[in-house]
Symmetry: none
Subunit: 261 residues, 2 copies
Amino acid sequence: MTEISLSQYSFVYNALSFGIAAMGAATVFFFLGRSQVSKDYRLAVTVTGLVTLIATYHYFRIFQSWEAAYSIMGSKVTPTGQPFNDAYRYVDWLLTVPLLLVELILVMKLPPKETYTKSVRLGLLAAVMVALGYPGEVAGSLGARWIWWVLAMIPFVLIVYELFFGLRDSIQSQPQAARGMVSAARWITVLSWCFYPLVYLFPMVGLSGGAALTGVQVGYTLADLIAKAAFGVFIYFIALRKSEVELSANRMVDKEFVAAE
Amino acid sequence: MTEISLSQYSFVYNALSFGIAAMGAATVFFFLGRSQVSKDYRLAVTVTGLVTLIATYHYFRIFQSWEAAYSIMGSKVTPTGQPFNDAYRYVDWLLTVPLLLVELILVMKLPPKETYTKSVRLGLLAAVMVALGYPGEVAGSLGARWIWWVLAMIPFVLIVYELFFGLRDSIQSQPQAARGMVSAARWITVLSWCFYPLVYLFPMVGLSGGAALTGVQVGYTLADLIAKAAFGVFIYFIALRKSEVELSANRMVDKEFVAAE
């Protein structure tokens, strides 16, 4: 296990604990908020809460694994010989990254068939992307890390293409009050996801030892918080706004109906 | 780790346990009380409960870290060599302090745009304030502690200014039955928050060793209980009062409508 300083150890330790607290609080927020949106959007908000729930579990595991990998005495940090299990992140992403794309599609309320085909296509691409990233993360050589990085970038680029061009018409069909927010949610996805391949590059651009390990762990945590919790809050408010707009539109129709009678 | 007496150790230990119990109970109170307020105020009460939920988690972590930092044999307290992780408090504040200001804004039910801009402005100022406090808390020298204290006071003063002058018109627009309570909530925020920079000063005004450590830990715990749990109870009763006032106002309108027909 890599040698690190006490301040590096503590930075990762506190970032991971922050991850548990923020993902856990976000989960409670989504599950409580579920009843505030109309039935059409409950599935989107449920999936949003599942993503942060899965992340809470994994951050708890990563935290425990980090704690077990080092022993602290005063200001001295010694590797215990227990491995730090990096695979938790990939297991998490394999579940949550496809679900994040499903959230975005569900909150758009497209026709059922389109919802299904787009969810399957984007979900599969996301799973392939995560699966291709892992061998590089555990590879011993930088050469192998580069190869897997390039391979994982192929589905990544396809997802970005699909979000911008495949969903363009669907976004135009959103009610005016929510169109800007849906478009922004798409941007948050693309921008926050760009963090991951960048963090992945840290060891390849000269960062090594404790600094690389700290940068990768804190970087992934920050990216996860934006891509899952902050993005989820956005999805929630889109669902809430669309529920309100549709509810008041229905009321107008009801009133006109009564007046016409 | 600082040498402390058994009574100092126990005082902090019991204060932290009190923190877990009080924050946990407050969380249950807010989540159960959520259904008693009208839809417009549920988000405010939800955020109130999230703040104490996040604090419960952190008090549990701080308690565990305190327990691990010392070993007790009879009346002798010996540092174990495990560091006491003070950063938990800052990680907590980074999440909860912006949310506390959001609670206050949400319960005022301002127009959506104003709610958004005020939440973002106050939330960001609060996060900057907490982030500027941390380097001083872990600094070795009193000089550095003073510098970060002064820097963190800048956003603090801006928040107080915003609460008193920026929100003045908004408070005047509150229904008469709740105006006094909203104004009081603002006062609780300002007064309870003044505790923090004062506690921060303890080591700088001659308190040192076990007395300073005990004062800082018990002081922060007390300040947290007032700023989060007691303040939250206030927010809850404002939400309840406003729900009742608005409900009876709506009933009056309905009756007049029926009478006019």
